[in-house]
């Protein structure tokens, strides 16, 4: 029942969401009881290393996992109050076009190599915005100009391989926003790009977010992109959130030892030049094996005996903002 006196539901509410993948030999759970929300106009960065589950977390509810992957989902993922997990395939398709836009990591594999860029863009626009072919064409040119591609009319006549990496990623972003979505999910949109082009893309996303008032979820492993773009950060480790908070809380005052270790692993241009490289020992756990206790314990410098007993949930970080949570009782208790 919808009561009009209530404020509009947020663009994204993920609640106790789990994904279990089945292969002939094993079942793994790359996403395990994850909860967070994204408010209108907010930019959330989901940060994690490869295998942390950050891509599956965001792509599974949209039915965008690779073909042939057998996934069970539990919990709920609500887009403007409607649970994506309960939608039929056609309802989901409608949401994917106009409600939620998606930008894929590798623009070359997200584009059809044998169709012209313009045709790929107008196809989605015609369907999602119900425009005539002529209207779609001028809308596509507008979008390409909006993402900073010079000479959009002639770009539309080109094939994806004729564009540079930065240009292709701009086309990918243009496709992602072509349905005028209220939520944009961008999976590593800058990873394959040079820093100069990355800076352009971050500026572009910031600008689009302001102009269109979109909420954005950006999936990344790059803290530099996070600091320039995000309002809120969710750090993922072994399928769970290990820390959640505002960008300042997490990047300036990180609580979880994993977040601290990750941040130390990224050398900045401001540390003294004789600084040694710092990393984390060991490697992330194999999700096919049972994880008892804290998944980060084997790599953690702060580890205690009881860390191996049960897997900790998110706790409020003392002396920080109310929304700052970390899944580490050791650090949380130290700070009280």
């Amino acid at each position: 029942m919808i009561r009009t006196t209530h404020p509009a539901p947020p663009p994204l509410e993920v609640d106790g969401f789990s994904v279990t993948l089945h292969t002939p030999n094993v079942s793994v759970r790359p996403v395990d009881r994850v909860t967070y929300s994204v408010e209108a106009g907010e930019v959330l960065a989901v940060v994690g290393e490869s295998g942390s589950g950050k891509t599956i977390l965001n792509m599974a509810p949209l039915d965008l996992l690779p073909v042939g992957v057998d996934a069970d989902m539990a919990g709920s993922v609500r887009f403007e109050g409607r649970d994506l997990l309960k939608m039929t395939a056609s309802e989901l398709e409608a949401v994917r076009g106009s409600g939620i836009g998606v930008v894929f990591q590798d623009p070359l594999s997200a584009l059809n190599p044998v169709r012209k860029v313009g045709r790929q863009l107008t196809e989605g626009i015609e369907r999602n915005l119900r425009l005539t072919p002529a209207q779609s064409e001028s809308r596509a040119a507008e979008l390409l100009a909006l993402v900073g591609l010079p000479d959009p009319k002639s770009r539309m006549q080109q094939y994806p391989h004729e564009l540079s990496g930065g240009q292709r990623q701009r086309v990918g972003i243009a496709m992602g926003i072509s349905g005028e979505p209220r939520l944009l999910i961008a999976d590593e949109p800058t990873t394959a790009l040079d820093v100069t082009v990355q800076a352009q893309i971050v500026e572009l996303l910031k600008d689009l977010q302001k102009r269109m008032g979109m909420a954005i979820v950006i999936i990344t492993h790059d803290f530099g992109v996070v600091s320039g773009l995000a309002d809120k950060v969710a750090v993922m480790y072994a399928g769970r959130l290990s820390e959640l908070g505002s960008v300042r809380d997490v990047l300036v005052g990180p609580a979880h030892p994993y977040t601290r270790g990750l941040l130390q692993s990224v050398p900045s241009l401001t540390v003294p030049m004789d600084t040694k490289f710092v990393g984390l020992p060991g490697q992330p756990p194999n999700l096919a094996h049972r994880i008892d206790g804290c998944a980060f314990a084997p790599r953690c410098a702060e580890v205690r005996a009881d860390c191996r007993g049960h897997r900790p949930g998110l706790l409020s970080v003392p002396r920080s903002s109310p929304g700052h949570l970390a899944a580490c009782p050791v650090v949380v208790n130290q700070n009280i």
Binding site: F223, G224, V252, S265, M273
Partner: protein, 325 residues
Amino acid sequence: MPEPILRVTDLKTHFRDSRTGADIRACDGVSLDLNAGEIVGLVGESGCGKSTLGRTIVGLERARSGSIRFKGQDLLALRGKTGAATRREIQYIFQDPLSSLSPRQTVGEALDEALIINGEGNRAARQARVLELLAAVSLPAQLVHRYAREMSGGQRQRVCIARALAADPKVLVCDEPVSSLDVSIRAQVMNLFLKLRDDLGMACLLIAHDLAIVRLAAQRVYVMYLGKIMEEGQSADLYGQPAHPYTQALLSAVPLTNPDDEQARRRILLSGDVPSPMNPPSGCRFRTRCPAARAVCETAPPMVQRGAGHVALCHFAADAPLGAL
């Protein structure tokens, strides 16, 4: 100062575009020195020719002209068995360790094969040497029976480095050695390069696009753009007082992890992409994207001396404002 172990002079590596027949001038007159016991950074955007330069040094690409002198001999003139033996002293580390290791070989077999290629005929000697090589890259001896897929990315890259060390090299050319690795394990590999430099006097050419990593590893840095070196200097000078507008723009594009620093910084946003190396701009190659370009930039810029060993290929390098040091 002793002669550098590797001296590249006016090196040109061109490719022919199969469709138009035009020359792609990937590496277009590059000079570079590498001293023993030194890590030298080579940075630039993708397509600038930095990998082509590295691949030409190890003989994976054929140079059009110029010279590569290694321990006093011109590598481009070397032929036959002595040539191959000399070339083995320069080893290459690839970006993706998984695709440069055979999926069907254990670590022990891969290292053993490398030792056979390098002329070690005695089986027992090879077995002992395999364990030494693993120790040299700080990997446990039990790893000899593992396959590439059974290891982490950091372990795989260290196996690749161990395999390169089997040839007893004097120079390592490392092309983006950590960019395919997760950030938390990059330190394992980067600290290994520092150790090889300090313990063995290894010379490394570190080709990378991550300027922050190069800053901590390299004593000297070359900045490349469209086939040419734009700036060269000690790391402290180049990062502290970049003289070339391209270097300044590259450094200003590096994101900072602290959101307060990130907001406070002034960013030079470069517009557009790197022009085609088939038809580079006349005069200064950077002028089509340079925020400071003027009419004179249509003529070839001079290499301007900024300080000891610090030069920049720019008409205005002498007047560039001094950065904070």
